[in-house]
Symmetry: C2
Subunit: 334 residues, 2 copies
């Protein structure tokens, strides 16, 4: 089942989207918003799935689904907690600035509490008041949970996953060092994130969803050129079950909690820094990583951060190259 | 006007509470929840105020208001961002562990993104799975904003404040050093916070609300003994307008954003560490501060963190010693 929220009010209008993303059926007679569906999932899941089946069988009225009409599936949420599960990425960033990475980073997940009061839709421009802030994209996988009790195991956490999608976790890199030095985590350096047009249930992914990981490439184009093709199922040190259990160690998580993987990143086959796609590598899922590799190789970064007019595309494909979650496609500074 | 949410479902049932906190009138015919009221404040504020006036004039049906029936006014919220505006507190904590405090801390607010997916009601027990986590109370002032555009001035930020209340920002002190060392801020060390039974509009506070600060003592009792009587209007380095403007520097804030002051803390008249109430001081608003003072004076902390069965009371009074926001009264480990 694939779910989207068409732009309407603060919380959107819930629709069920066909498997091929071409059509939608309004779900308002079942439940008005995705948050409301997640609040009472046991009650609403069955009727929503029936609607999705009817839509795919073309036995009910349907409308054309335009991704540009979609808000983030949860236009606002009660919780957005973002991990940093591709530890390879963290190790590279540390290497570039000559900082040692604690060995515990391989065992104890990094996670920050993100702002969730307003997300960007998949086609919304990235607002950027000042290019000197060093605006970066971050292509990530996300899951949405039901209610998660405090102290759950990894397996229980995996069973709480309701939906899977993608995000562009926008970061203001030049504000991060100052904020981290203060010790209170990210705040100003993490403006609103954008999400894929649809979120899908785990079963809809078949074998692409296993071991708490999405086994598809996360595709990133920058200004129309291939920039990242990293395999989300590889080099993910902490699967989503582990990330959720980490988040729930000391407190319960409310239904509709969004948990992020952190920037998807693959180790290079040679063990060295990852190569650009043009040089046969899998590229990068954020600018910070290519700048890090440039710093390691050449002593300084060359790729600039995002500026007004730059375009970012983030998606994942099925075997016929059709987007699974739709496409995040944003222009900076609109 | 004073507003509360009686326990019901995930978001409570909005009621208007009389000025003396003795009575309530259901507001469901105007708007069902406080979040919905804040989402369309211009539309709902007038009718809610009329209801409050009618309630105080005893011209409508009314029910007894029992604080034990209240959830947090926002039982869950889209944003909880907590400052650390009493820099004196930060300086003391740093002094105790021999760490220098950067001079910028006096000019650039500290703020962390807190979890907002589920808050505790004013009489709810503080869940604590492991006493070794070092559970602490933190008595703070909070404000709730309307929509705040990115880049607002302090004055615009002040005008966005809809409601004022108190919180017990529960902290797990022994988990904080490890989390801060990882650089991603607090996560596991900040379980659910509790809030005062009612939130009130700024006008209802009269002269007690000025310059973006609450000019009343925040009263804290621990196990029935006076523990803190700090004046919230004093030594607050950053007023709420400054805190909100800081939060909105790089992104808009959604309606219903809760901004916290951080632990209320007064400098001692002598310039030294603050004294306990029994020794003529104003006491403390968290255990970490008294432990810090003990460390400075005696080389090590003596006051233990919270354990099962401990009780915490947090409130503020009018001139006749009646609680303004009701009373947070929690028992640990229930």
């Amino acid at each position: 089942m694939k779910l989207a929220s068409l732009k309407q009010g603060r919380d959107g209008r819930l629709v069920v989207v066909s498997s091929d993303l071409a059509w939608y059926a309004d779900a308002g007679h079942i439940v008005p918003t995705l948050q409301a569906a997640l609040d009472d999932w046991d009650q609403h899941e069955g009727p929503l799935r029936n609607l999705a089946t009817d839509l795919d069988h073309e036995v009910i009225p349907r409308e054309r689904f335009h991704e540009r009409d979609a808000a983030a599936p949860l236009p606002r949420a009660y919780q957005w907690a973002d991990g940093s599960a591709y530890v390879n990425h963290v190790a590279l960033v540390r290497q570039a600035r000559g900082a040692e990475m604690p060995e515990t980073f391989w065992h104890d997940p990094l996670m920050y509490q993100g702002g969730s009061d307003g997300f960007l839709g998949p086609r919304d421009p990235i607002p950027l008041a000042d290019e000197r802030w060093g605006c970066d994209l971050e292509a990530e996988v996300v899951v949405v949970t039901g209610d998660v009790p405090q102290g759950v195991s990894r397996d229980e956490a995996l069973a709480s996953i309701r939906l899977i999608g993608l995000t562009n976790d926008v970061s203001l890199r030049n504000l991060i060092p100052g904020e981290l030095a203060k010790g209170f985590g990210f705040f100003q350096s993490k403006p609103a994130s954008a999400f894929s047009p649809v979120f899908v249930t785990p079963d809809a992914l078949g074998d692409w969803w296993r071991d708490g990981k999405l086994h598809r490439k996360v595709m990133v184009d920058l200004n129309g050129q291939p920039f990242g093709r990293a395999e989300a199922g590889e080099d993910m040190t902490f699967d989503f079950g582990t990330l959720i259990a980490h988040a729930a160690k000391t407190r319960a998580l409310g239904a509709g909690t969004i948990i992020g993987s952190g920037t998807v990143s693959n180790r290079d086959a040679t063990g060295g820094p990852g190569k650009p796609i043009a040089q046969g590598g899998v590229g990068y899922s954020c600018l910070a990583e290519v700048r890090t590799v440039e710093t390691i190789l050449n002593g300084k970064p060359e790729t600039p951060f995002l500026k007004a007019g730059d375009t970012v595309r983030i998606w994942a494909e099925d075997d016929r190259h059709h987007p699974i979650f739709g496409v995040i496609e944003q222009t900076v500074g609109g």
